[in-house]
């Protein structure tokens, strides 16, 4: 019985793995190893699998759990960077040639955004969710999501780009 459940769970997970991985990688920066975050999220999702109402909502189901996990961690931990003890979880794994410095800088800048803007940017720009879907995940209005996206982009521009931005 458990094996069947695991099989079904993984079959549902496989198509959304890439999107979920990117999201966790971005959310985990400065907090923890993103693989741990993915594993923790999957474990909880597996336990609550029966409560999933629609297979189509599986990815947003995972995102919701992940967001709450990070939110709870933020209350307890602060970022530690210690070269001497070789805590290198925050270092991007650059073993693959496709991984560029620019993308990693982008993720680090996203990590500096306020939580709502950060998640909206990740879900919309990286994971390809619509504004309507993001509004449902965060339980806010679509106009609120649009504002978060706009402000998030302006802030990213200030963090990453050389020229200052004149916002409206």
């Amino acid at each position: 019985m458990n094996k069947q459940k695991q099989k079904k769970f993984m079959m549902m997970y496989e198509p959304v793995h890439n999107s979920f991985e990117r999201f966790c990688r971005a959310k985990a920066i400065g907090r923890m190893d993103f693989r741990d975050l993915m594993n923790d999220t999957l474990l909880i999702a597996y336990q609550k699998f029966e409560s999933l109402q629609s297979e189509k909502a599986f990815l947003s189901f995972l995102f919701g759990i992940c967001i709450r996990l990070i939110s709870n961690k933020n209350r307890k931990k602060r970022e530690v960077f210690n070269l001497d003890s070789e805590v290198i979880n925050n270092i991007p794994d650059d073993t693959r040639p496709a991984s560029t410095t620019e993308v990693q800088l982008l993720y680090r800048a996203i990590a500096k955004l306020p939580t709502e803007q950060q998640e909206s940017i990740l879900l919309f720009e990286i994971s390809g969710f619509s504004i309507k879907e993001i509004a449902a995940i965060h339980q806010v209005s679509e106009s609120a999501v649009k504002k978060r996206l706009q402000r998030g982009r302006e802030k990213l521009a200030q963090l990453l780009l050389e020229t200052p931005i004149n916002s409206k």
């Binding site: 961690k73 070789e86 800088l105 990453l160 780009l161």
Partner: protein, 405 residues
């Protein structure tokens, strides 16, 4: 109309979307199954049903860790432990034999142990409670004949995996050492006077000179408590040794005089120092290169802890507008230029401890790690620099260089 920054952000987002995942589906699936197979799921589901409000904190990484510890405590690892028979002996609590060696010895036939046993110029050092050894070559007069790149050998009986079989003295160290060796019996007494030296300090020097048997007279011209004229005459009675110093600087100009004498073991002056120099003081920020050289010499002679404890004294006189982190940064690059990479790393590490929020310090450390072939640590340093200043193009370029390797 889209602004330029929107186009650039869109480009970056597109790059991110196209990026291959770092963790494959198979990797995550296997890890997930392993976690379930360890019996974790049963425990967690019990907690989940009873403590709904604590669901997410209890299933966090910390709980996984705690459960792992419980499992480990109950497992007997003794039978699996192995102790290496090849652990090399340490330097602790054993006498060390050292000697110099010209660099052009025959490396094929040379035996350090035989040489040290027979060498008349080898010296023994008593046991120390630590695993490191500082060789003071000034102890033995036979070591006065140090040539450039002389090598200090340690006895092969006492080598550890950390101690080198031989170490090469660099030229800067030898140059510094030779004047000390020649003046082993006499103590230099030095003073530095600049335009802000207080008058009571001038009186103290006068008193010290007289106690050293020097006929000492001086004249000072002050304006607004700043020395603008300083004349001193010194002579040692019964000898031909004498010294005259005259400084007269225009208003608001700066100067520095270094002078003194050699004293014998009784404290009496026997001659005046030959390196007396008078100079118009450089603008404060140009003190950095010369101070950095001083730091390099003192670090190589006495170790990093002295540099750390005396750091404030090194920064005295430096223009307040200049960044203090530039001092160790410059010193580190001097050592890099000398190919003393591991020493440069230590200095850069100290700089990051003192100025942890300066991106440039981390960038320099990364560069030193890169030179040392330690790309992991280099990447960590560059990323730290970028976390402080995301626009630091030097660190971005270094990271790209590592990626291209």
């Amino acid at each position: 109309m889209m602004t330029n920054y929107n186009k650039e952000l869109d480009r970056l987002f597109e790059l991110a979307r196209q990026e291959e995942p770092k963790a494959s589906f198979i990797e995550i699936r296997n890890r997930f199954h392993q976690t379930l197979a360890s019996g974790f799921s049963g425990t967690v589901s019990h907690w989940l049903t009873i403590h709904k409000g604590w669901i997410f904190s209890l299933t966090s990484f910390s709980l996984l860790f705690i459960l792992s510890i419980i499992i480990i405590i109950n497992y007997d690892y003794t039978s699996e432990r192995t102790i290496s028979e090849d652990t090399p002996p340490s330097l602790k609590n054993v006498p060390i034999k050292a000697s110099t060696l010209p660099i052009n010895h025959n490396q094929d036939t040379f035996s350090p142990k035989t040489y040290l046993s027979s060498s008349s110029s080898s010296i023994e050092f008593p046991p120390t409670p630590t695993n490191t050894m500082t060789i003071d070559v000034s102890r033995d007069t036979s070591l006065h004949t140090l040539e450039n790149n002389s090598i200090i050998l340690l006895s092969s009986e006492h080598l550890s995996d950390k101690a080198p079989a031989s170490t090469t003295l660099n030229q800067a160290y030898i140059k510094k050492l030779k004047p000390q060796i020649s003046n082993l019996e006499n103590t230099p007494v030095r003073f530095t006077i600049n335009e802000r030296t207080p008058t009571n300090q001038l009186s103290n020097i006068s008193g010290l000179a007289r106690r050293a048997g020097i006929e000492y007279t001086y004249v000072v011209g002050l304006k607004h408590k700043t020395i603008q004229e300083f004349n001193v005459h010194m002579s040692i009675p019964g000898t031909t040794h004498s010294c005259n110093i005259q400084v007269c600087v225009p208003k608001k100009e700066r100067f520095e005089i270094n002078f003194g004498w050699l004293a014998n073991s009784a404290g009496k002056a026997i001659s005046f120092l030959e390196d007396i120099n008078i100079q118009k003081a450089e603008p404060k920020n140009t003190l950095i290169p010369t101070r950095a050289e001083t730091i390099c010499h003192q670090y190589q002679a006495n170790g990093i802890s002295l540099i750390e404890s005396n750091f404030n004294s090194y920064t005295k006189g430096i223009d307040p507008k200049a960044s203090k982190d530039a001092l160790l940064n410059t010193a580190g690059y001097i050592l890099l230029k000398q190919d003393s990479v591991s020493q440069a790393i230590e200095l850069f590490k100290l700089n990051t401890r003192l100025f942890s929020k300066k991106a440039n310090c981390w960038d320099s450390l990364g560069e030193a790690y890169y030179r040392n072939g330690d790309y992991k640590q280099a990447k960590a340093s560059f990323w730290k620099a970028l976390s402080i200043d995301p626009k630091l193009s030097a660190s971005k370029n270094w990271l790209q260089k590592i990626e291209n390797k």
